[in-house]
Amino acid sequence: MSGTSRPKAPAATVSGQPPAWLRRTILIVICGLFLVPLLAMFEFTLRQQGGGYGIEHWAALVDPENSRMYRNLVKGIGNSLLLAVITIAIVWVLFLPTIVLVHLQFPRLARAFELLTVLPIAIPAIVLVVGLAPLYRIIVQVLGGHIWTLALAYGILVLPFAYRAIVSELEGMGAKTLVEAARSLGASWFTVLWRVIVPGVRRGLTSATLITAAVVLGEFTVSSLLNRVTMQVALVEVSKSDPYAAVITSLLSLVIVFALLFIFASIRPRGQRKQRGGAAQAPTATAAIATSEIQPVTATQKEVGANG
């Protein structure tokens, strides 16, 4: 793909690429589809009690007088953020080394491992909870009932996304040879992981982190059925009495996640990616990087969409 040289002139339909105007139209339509609900939510939050528009509901949210009413919501947000951090830590500290190990040292296990990682998607969340409930009775007895234990279940939920994101990068970087080169140059396994693998799968790790945050912040079924207060659970509760506060919080969380997504997606690694076959022409090389960069994010977005 990177090898084919693309003519710079527009409307080069022969090469399989749609003309510029079509691309732009598609982009605008898709952005519109994303924006309409957000704008609708925003419009809703501005509706005043007595008709007309104003910031009444936004002000009410930060009004100290209402702090009791929103106490659960604040707690839920705090819990969700904590869970997101812990789950991300699980992805980094547990999943990444495991995936690398399976991929490089025990390639025979890769098949079984891959199947395993699909299970959390294949099994409906409600069924998962039925299985998790008795487990959590034991977990509560052993580790206590603190909210962080929920991160263990979340780790399972995000495994499919984290796995995909990391493995595709790992395969793309030719990890085996790089690891062997680093090892023979005297690097310990930890150094290999930190100095060679992590920079190599940076983009995959970034999207894994982001998706993890998105999944955890958006998760409702498991936390609700296990009686934990997370942001989504609190939102449902608040929406019963104050739909405006619920929509404002949802809107903010969506905007923050989108912002994070764009920030992470636009970061370019310093060394950029190695082009196989050596001296690729600079313009084509950057074009290839740009296209390959967009793919993982959109693909994983689709997966999140399918799951939710």
Binding site: E180, R195, G200, K274, A279
Partner: protein, 374 residues
């Protein structure tokens, strides 16, 4: 005793490290890829492991590097059994076939990686990295990234990265296979020059016989997990000990022959046979019965003469018809067909020219040839 071993160690440090394979076997489940390999490599020697793909040459190198564990047997590096030593402590550098530069590091950072792992100070690191890059002629690329280099340059950097730590041995795993023919030859010669300059023990895995013969002090020809023959390039070419080596190294015409009294009768001549080939047949157990053999005759062991009018008077020659003739710069190759239908390739000087359909006489130089039971 202690003194002598110290002296030996000091000498080894200067002139490279000896490496010994002692009945090294490697099996993956039921498939055995190395059958008790014995190989002794002198300090500073350049040994090539040559063979077709799947012959175990790369596995052998990987066992030495520590990237694979032998199923049984020992590998001694500088007299020390390295079996319990993990890859990162073996102090042997590998240059791989696949480009293996770290893509997120500059050339200088790549080359300095091994020194960093050995906790070499920043200032010394910079000097040694610069030296190593100079050695491979890439001093000007220090700040570039791998994707900004050509394939040949990437492999040079990989070579610099391997050499900068002054390892006990340099292990080259088909480092030239991904390169263009011209770059391949140039880099091959440079590797040889650098190896001679540094005196580092070097093992070079390749499936390209020309490459192996050109650079190595000794070549180990491997097949199906065993070393078929180990020797200087010229020995392998002139005195192949097994039919496999005879047909794998260089080119040969395979002619049907009959063995009689240590000599082989081929169409148009009776030729002496290499002693190793005779003993190989003996070991085969069928020597007494086997007289039907295939003789391996090199194209340069043959010559052609235009057929003179006096036919039938030829003593040791074979009348044949020229099929085609090709020009190869330094020499010419002519393919002829004998009356029996065999096609035979002859290499001769460009001064002689033969036209297609021309009747010629094929003569043998009389050098000993290898044979194989038919």
């Amino acid at each position: 005793m202690a003194d002598t071993s110290n002296a030996a160690a000091a000498a080894a440090a200067q002139k490279g490290t000896p490496i010994v394979f002692e009945s090294v076997t490697k099996a993956y489940g039921d498939t055995t890829v190395l059958h008790g390999i014995d190989l002794s490599i002198a300090p500073g020697e350049f040994v090539a492991l040559l063979g077709p793909s799947g012959c175990g040459k790369t596995t052998m190198l990987r066992c030495l590097a520590g990237l694979e564990q032998p199923t049984s047997g020992r590998i001694l590096v500088g007299g020390e059994d390295v079996s319990p030593v993990p890859v990162n402590k073996r102090d042997m550098s590998v240059v791989f076939q696949a480009y293996s530069l770290f893509p997120h590091m500059t050339v200088a950072q790549n080359v300095g990686f091994g020194l960093e792992m050995r906790k070499v100070g920043k200032a010394e690191r910079a000097t040694r990295v610069a030296e190593a890059l100079e050695l491979v002629g890439l001093g000007h690329t220090a700040d570039r990234y791998a994707h900004q280099l050509s394939g040949g340059q990437q492999q040079r950097v990989a070579l610099a990265r391997a050499l900068v730590t002054k390892p006990r041995a340099l292990l080259l795993d088909e480092p030239l296979s991904a390169l263009d023919a011209k770059v391949r030859v140039r880099l091959r010669d440079e590797i040889k020059a650098i190896q001679v300059e540094l005196g580092i023990t070097t093992i070079f895995v390749t499936h390209d016989q020309e490459e192996a013969l050109a650079v190595a002090d000794r070549v180990a020809v491997m097949r199906e997990g065993v070393i078929e023959q180990l020797g200087a390039p010229e020995d392998l070419y002139r005195r192949p000990e097994t039919p496999f080596v005879a047909s794998f190294i260089g080119e040969s015409n395979k002619l049907a022959g009959v063995l009689t009294g240590g000599r082989v009768r081929v169409p148009g001549a009776v030729l002496p046979v290499l002693p190793a080939a005779i003993s190989a047949l003996d070991e085969g157990g069928s020597a007494a019965g086997t007289t039907e053999v295939t003789a391996f005759v090199r194209p340069e062991q043959l010559r052609l003469e235009a057929l003179s009018g006096a036919e039938g008077t030829e003593q040791d020659g074979l009348v044949a018809t020229v099929v085609s003739s090709g020009f190869f710069g330094a020499h010419r190759r002519t393919v002829v067909r004998a009356d029996s239908g065999e096609t035979i390739t002859v290499q001769h000087s460009t001064g002689e020219q033969f036209a297609a359909e021309q009747q010629v006489v094929l003569r043998y130089s009389g050098e000993a040839v290898a044979v194989e039971a038919r």
